[in-house]
């Protein structure tokens, strides 16, 4: 066998930029002999090391797999352009970081699907590995390619490239998958997939077929009765007892989020109607403050990190946040470790809390009103008022901040120019609050915007994105409005959001588009220097599709949706009800107050919970 390791270290690494990101020998990286392992998985993040290493899911799975002596997990990322060129020029295959083993020698290659802009990169990584791109072309000796993460809730554009997907919490499903593969190493690929299809959360796209009637999409159905019409997602029922990594790998060079991440809870009950995470990570599952404190201490002593991010979808909703921040903050400050709270709703923000978390170092603050008027915030069910924002800003300025970032989405359903004027208006009021709070000079109030991308499994899944002309017009309107006096405007990247929208709700006919875009050179599309809209437009056109139409296309209530055969646990009926309420401008309360009958309780099979669901009362609300 070729000694990939010494070739890589002696002849390739010395020629690339930032070689430490490919060295694989960071503290807490796990190196196992492949002689003694029964099954090996390469955990692939289709972006650069600096992005991928910042991702919590990768750390959780790496830890869980490597805890088992007979399994091995290693990491692989997309190489940067200089290394990619060397690899292609010198026919050096894509290898894992830890043992420099080519990807095609793994039993399983798992890609995380975090954002649509990474899809072409997946194709590039398969290509660099010499693994056949299409699952139909792979043989018994090729690894199985699996995808997971939020993108797996509508994986249809990628279905032809993957052997299977894991829908839901992979820490629940992946161990079952590895057990089957370890026990059944020598059966055929097809038989393996049949066995895997029986695991909750596993979706094998080749066992399902998209059907059409006269060119009209009619749904995706199982090819035989062996497979369920809907694949149900996997759920970790209890986070408190679920394994959590304390042995984070410690990169040498700076990565995007170079810190420890402590997951307070999973799921969110707020019910913002644009938010996919708010649906697919239901229900809320918390860890106790005692467990979190224990984890934090262990994490610091095994990594030496200087910062811990308290993470969740909305950390202000954590039941015992004040207690946790107070106690943990004190304990960590003594070790020179600071806390950060990256996901705080502005109605949970207080000056006191801010000072607690900023005990050691002070970082930037972002508030997300999402929309400029109360009417539109009601449509999206954000349930935040202008008063909330101004109070949070005032608190922040009094606590010593001199700048805040305000985040908004452009092109939300029913948005009018009045809502855009509302954005500028809010920003100006925040500047005024700065002066009232006694701030000196000018504050830095940055209005940061992105274009709304409708997502599968959300109440807005039926609506199309606004057109590019509208994006331009609305951006220009904001540019004219947000000027001077401590205000800054960071406008959205319209072109990437069009691509995201076209891929996010697409079906299987997008597979050739993605393959073609990659062949034209698409990769790392989240990076401005790599992204080319023209390349993607061409790839769509060559497949007989129009990228802009795909992005702005809406669905009818009765239309089958390309992801209907994937069960997030939340019913389509609930999503539709929420959609209709949004158009009527009706808000829906946080479901901790009253179960809204979204369907999750049924999925969890908690008999006692089902009684709390008030389906009837909710239905009568419509």
């Amino acid at each position: 066998m070729k000694d990939y390791r010494s070739i890589f270290w002696d002849t390739i690494l010395p020629r690339v930029q930032k070689p430490t990101r490919y060295s694989g020998n960071e503290i807490n990286a796990v190196h196992k002999s492949h002689q003694t392992t029964l099954v090996k998985i390469a955990l692939a993040f289709p972006d650069l090391y600096e992005i991928g290493m910042s991702h919590l899911g990768l750390k959780i799975l790496y830890h869980i797999v490597n805890q088992n002596e007979s399994w091995a997990a290693e990491r692989v990322f997309m190489p940067d352009a200089d290394l990619e060129k060397i690899m292609r020029d010198e026919s050096f295959p894509l290898c894992s970081l830890e043992t420099v083993t080519p990807l095609h020698d793994f039993d399983l290659v798992g890609f995380t699907l975090q954002y649509e802009l990474s899809y072409a990169t997946i194709i590039q990584m398969l290509d660099l590995s010499g693994i056949p791109l299409y699952q139909a072309d792979r043989g018994d000796r090729d690894p199985l390619i699996v995808g997971g993460g939020p993108g797996a809730y509508n994986p249809e554009p990628l279905a032809d490239f993957f052997d299977f997907f894991i829908i839901g919490d992979a820490e629940e499903t992946l161990p079952q998958v590895l057990q089957i593969l370890a026990a059944e190493a020598h059966i055929s690929r097809e038989d393996k997939l049949r066995r895997l299809a029986g695991v909750t959360g596993v979706y094998v796209p080749s066992f399902y077929r998209d059907t059409y009637d006269d060119g009209r999409y009619m749904g995706t159905r199982p090819v035989s009765e062996d497979f369920p019409p809907q694949v149900r997602r996997a759920v970790v029922a209890d986070l408190e007892t679920a394994d959590y990594p304390t042995d984070f790998i410690v990169p040498y060079g700076g990565i995007v989020h170079d810190r420890l991440v402590l997951e307070l809870f999973r799921g969110c009950t707020r019910g913002c109607r644009f938010c996919q995470a708010g649906i697919i990570y239901r229900p809320v599952r918390e860890r106790s403050p005692e467990t979190l404190q224990k984890l934090a201490k262990k994490m610091v002593s095994s990594t030496g990190y200087e910062e811990i991010a308290l993470s969740s979808l909305s950390s202000g909703d954590y039941g015992a946040l004040d207690q946790l921040v107070e106690e943990l903050g004190r304990e960590m400050a003594a070790l020179g470790v600071s806390l950060s709270l990256p996901s705080l709703r502005l109605d949970s923000f207080s000056g006191e809390l801010a000072q607690q978390v900023q005990r050691v170092r002070k970082s930037g603050l972002t508030f997300a009103p999402e929309a400029g008027t109360q009417r539109l915030r009601d449509v999206i069910n954000k349930n935040i008022t202008e008063e909330d924002l101004l109070k949070a800003a005032s608190d922040a300025f009094s606590a010593g901040w001199t700048g805040v970032k305000l985040y908004f989405m452009l092109g939300l359903p029913t948005e009018t120019d009045e809502d855009l004027h509302g954005i500028a208006d809010l920003a100006r009021k925040v500047v005024k609050v700065y002066r009232q709070a006694g701030g000196k000079g000018r504050p830095r109030v940055t209005v940061s915007t992105s274009v709304f991308v409708p997502k599968a499994h959300t109440p807005f899944q039926w609506v199309g994105q606004i057109t590019e002309d509208e994006m331009m017009r609305r951006t220009q309107l904001l540019k004219n409005e947000i000027r001077g006096g401590g205000l800054q405007f960071s406008w959205p990247d319209a072109k990437t959001s069009i691509l995201e929208s076209a891929l996010a709700r697409g079906g299987r006919r997008l597979a050739p588009v993605i393959a073609r875009a990659a062949a034209l050179g698409a990769k790392l599309d989240g990076w401005g220097e790599h992204f080319s809209f023209e390349r993607w437009r061409q790839a769509f056109t060559e497949s007989g599709l129009d990228i802009k139409e795909c992005a702005s296309m809406g669905f009818g209530e009765d239309d089958p949706l390309p992801w209907d055969h994937l069960d997030s646990g939340v019913t389509k009926r609930f999503l539709l009800r929420e959609f209709k309420r949004s158009l009527d401008g009706k808000v829906t309360n946080d479901c901790r107050e009253n179960c809204l009958g979204c369907g999750m309780a049924v999925l969890l099979e908690r008999e006692e919970k089902k009684g709390d669901c008030h389906h009837e009362s909710m239905d009568s609300l419509c």
Partner: protein, 235 residues
């Protein structure tokens, strides 16, 4: 308690930059649970610095960390630190230094380097060395913050030879602005690609024309003295 730690940076970590190395030490110290002192101010930093910067890609037998702890440390604690360092970084020794001692960085005078050469390289390099040592001046162009400037590195070459083992051996002035960079000398010797085979084998302070390593020099209050019983390289 202020300490100079002598450590080795070996092949697995040769690509770490100066900043990477600093981060790696800070985290190792926190893993070992050692009480490092912090600077005061808005963004407190641990009080630690390296004696000199090592070029990315080079390995070194002679790296030094000058660090201030808020308490006295025992051997057990240093052992704990030694054990938590990444593979490729080894603590050779450590010595407490008086608090008044100037920063090690400011005391460094010279560093020694070795580079293994092939047969072909040896004969070519021998000729280049002869020319270099014969030259009156060796102007080198440097990119500074305020644009380019020319520096004469001839007086900074203290020794340049090929050893019996066929290695290039260099003793260069280093520290602050007054040093020659190994890369500059390799460039003049037409050994541009040699940087990745470079090994730093010595780091010296200068006490009355005697070069001695930070491990060996005598330290008394603010003074740095020769320890006559230890190795000394006479200039």
């Amino acid at each position: 308690m202020r300490v100079w730690i002598h450590f080795v940076k070996d092949a697995p970590l040769r690509f770490l930059s100066h900043l990477d190395l600093m981060r790696t030490w800070q985290r190792a110290i926190r893993r070992a649970g050692l009480p490092v002192s912090y600077s005061a101010g808005f963004n407190p930093h641990p009080k630690m610095s390296f004696a000199s910067a090592l070029p990315v890609g080079a390995i070194s037998d002679e790296e030094y960390l000058d660090i201030q702890f808020s308490e006295s440390l025992s051997d057990t604690e240093f052992t704990r630190l030694r054990e938590t360092l990444p593979k490729g970084m080894t603590i050779v020794s450590w010595r407490p230094v008086p608090p008044e001692t100037p920063p090690l960085m400011s005391l460094v005078f010279a560093s020694a380097w070795r580079l293994p050469l092939s047969q072909d390289e040896q004969s070519a390099a021998a000729e280049h060395i002869r020319l270099l040592l014969a030259a009156e001046t060796l102007p080198v162009l440097r990119q500074g913050k305020k644009g380019e400037k020319t520096v004469d590195i001839r007086p900074l070459l203290l020794r340049l030879e090929i050893t019996a083992a066929g290695e290039l051996s260099m003793l260069l002035r280093s520290g602050g602005d007054g040093g020659a960079k190994p890369r500059e000398v390799l460039h003049l010797l037409h050994l541009e690609h040699g940087e990745l085979r470079l090994r730093k084998t010595g780091l010296y302070l200068n006490v009355g024309n005697c070069l001695q390593s930070p491990t060996d020099v005598g330290l008394k209050e603010k003074e740095v003295l020769i320890d006559a019983e230890k190795n000394c390289y006479q200039l």
